[in-house]
């Protein structure tokens, strides 16, 4: 069975992002970039499925600027077999990414598509659901457990009230939540080996997808800062302040 994993290059989760002074966009010059953490979980899951003998080939896909190659090399070092880079300098909204991913899936004919539930830059939480919709496939979002057979995939989902389990016909889309697995550290020999694995290039035109944005970014701003608080000396002072000053008790 073939699996596609979608990996996005995003600003590292440790970076505190700020708006540019003119408020036109966020300041990302020289910021450390990494694979979206949820996508590491997606790659890890695919690799585990391959190690368990359920998957034969893993194709990692990324859309965006030239530097996405690094993200794809990381996926290859983790255990993906091949990579596809849809290279573009255009600003890609989730809908455009979903259309590109659909086009790649139609070429590659995988049985399973694994994505992160959310990219930690745009915090959109959309691409997996949109791709499933465009392909007419089932979706198992926010997965904390995945059980794959040749006919279907059972997904345990993290929902607001707890956990829920669904069974999806294949082909299907799964998006990862934090508890699905703990991604492995890549070892140096694997990084070296990944350099030799195939990385194919496509353009948005090759895939026939119009990626024109539908949203206009009017501006970005920093949220209101909280007033600096105080340190209290002990529990008695805390309770007194909560009662008389904050009036929340």
């Amino acid at each position: 069975m073939k699996v596609i994993v979608a990996v996005k290059r995003v600003v590292d989760f440790n970076v505190k992002v700020r708006p540019k002074t003119d408020g036109s966009d966020v300041e990302l010059a020289n910021a450390k970039m990494s694979m979206n953490p949820f996508d590491e979980i997606a790659v890890e899951e695919a690799v585990r499925l391959k190690e368990a003998g359920k998957v034969t080939e893993i194709v990692a896909v990324s859309m965006g600027v030239k530097a996405c190659e690094e993200t794809l090399r990381t996926a290859l070092a983790m255990g993906a077999d091949r990579a596809v880079h849809v290279e573009t300098d255009a600003v890609l909204e989730p809908l455009a990414v979903a259309k590109l991913l659909k086009a790649v899936a139609e070429k590659e004919q995988p049985q399973l598509l694994i994505l992160g539930k959310q990219a930690i830059d745009d915090d959109a939480n959309q691409v997996g659901q949109m791709t499933a919709a465009l392909l007419g496939w089932a979706q198992g979002t926010f997965a904390s457990k995945v059980g794959l057979s040749s006919e279907n995939v059972q997904v345990m989902r993290e929902v607001d009230g707890g956990l829920e389990t669904v069974t999806l016909n294949l082909p299907a889309v799964v998006t990862t939540d934090l508890r699905l697995n703990e991604p492995r550290f890549v070892k140096l020999p694997n990084i070296m080996a990944a350099k030799k694995k195939p990385l194919d290039k496509l353009t948005t035109a090759d895939l026939g997808v119009d990626v024109t944005p539908r949203l206009t970014l009017v501006n970005v701003a920093e949220p209101a800062k909280r007033q600096a608080g105080v340190k209290v000396a002990n529990v008695a002072e805390l309770v007194a302040k909560l009662k008389s000053e904050a009036k929340v008790l």
């Binding site: 919709a133 929902v159 009230g161 970005v220 302040k241 008790l249």
Partner: protein
Amino acid sequence: MTILVIAEHDNKELKSGTLHTVTAAQKIGGDIHVLVAGNNCGAVAEAAAKLAGVSVVKVAEGAALEHGLAENIAPLVVKLAAGYSHVLAPATTYGKNLLPRVAALLDVMQISEISAVEAADTFVRPIYAGNVLATVKSNDPIKVITVRTTAFDAVGPGGSADIEKVDGGADAGLSRFDGAELTVSDRPELASARIVVSGGRALGSAEQFQAVIEPLADKLGAAVGASRAAVDAGYAPNDYQVGQTGKVVAPQLYVAVGISGAIQHLAGMKDSKVIVAINKDEEAPIFQVADYGLVGDLFSVVPELIQALGD
């Protein structure tokens, strides 16, 4: 303009997220309709009909709609959407699962988790773990939007909407609901509680989490939350996670116990009215957002606090 709000419910009760979403719809302005898609969910439709500002409730019933499967509900919403300027759902796991599927089928770019309405086509939404607020204008014919529930008040009662039945459509035959393990608790719901007590990695075990955090929550009548580290370590269930990739809360009082204050955690609680932090490290970043910080060992501070709160 007519706005369609997708109700979240369990076939018996309307979930509170819907009430906040209706308020967001009021801010946009126009007629407000609510869709209740489910099975034997008449009571939910009646509850929705009583919400202030709602003029029509559409009810679609059928076995395929019982468990909220997006594969079955999305086509129904898409069929109805032609008559609406906006389609809104709460940014809960229910709305986040369903609405992008609707948006893609409509060939529309969804606007996720709005925190303010600037105009009928312009909205504010947090990005980068809430470190930045983006104002975006949609150029799509139908605006498909999920709503950050803590950013809008719950709408009150006072409506008397008409209830109309609509065809629920067929089962898409793509997916099946097997079951759910929902956390049972007598405490208030985390997303809408007036007070939240959250525990972090410092609790050290599920037993200690229960022994320390829960009595304080019970004393305060609070909901219980947790950091990702506490959930990952199995001290608390997944649905307790507060943060960028968990639940967003904005209670009157948030008590962070043994939580360092990573940006991903702050993203989920920094709009709380009053924040209390208990941490033994006086440099912990959580103190930068706390109104009242208490430096100390939680294992002695929390029991003392419970005592001091009296009966």
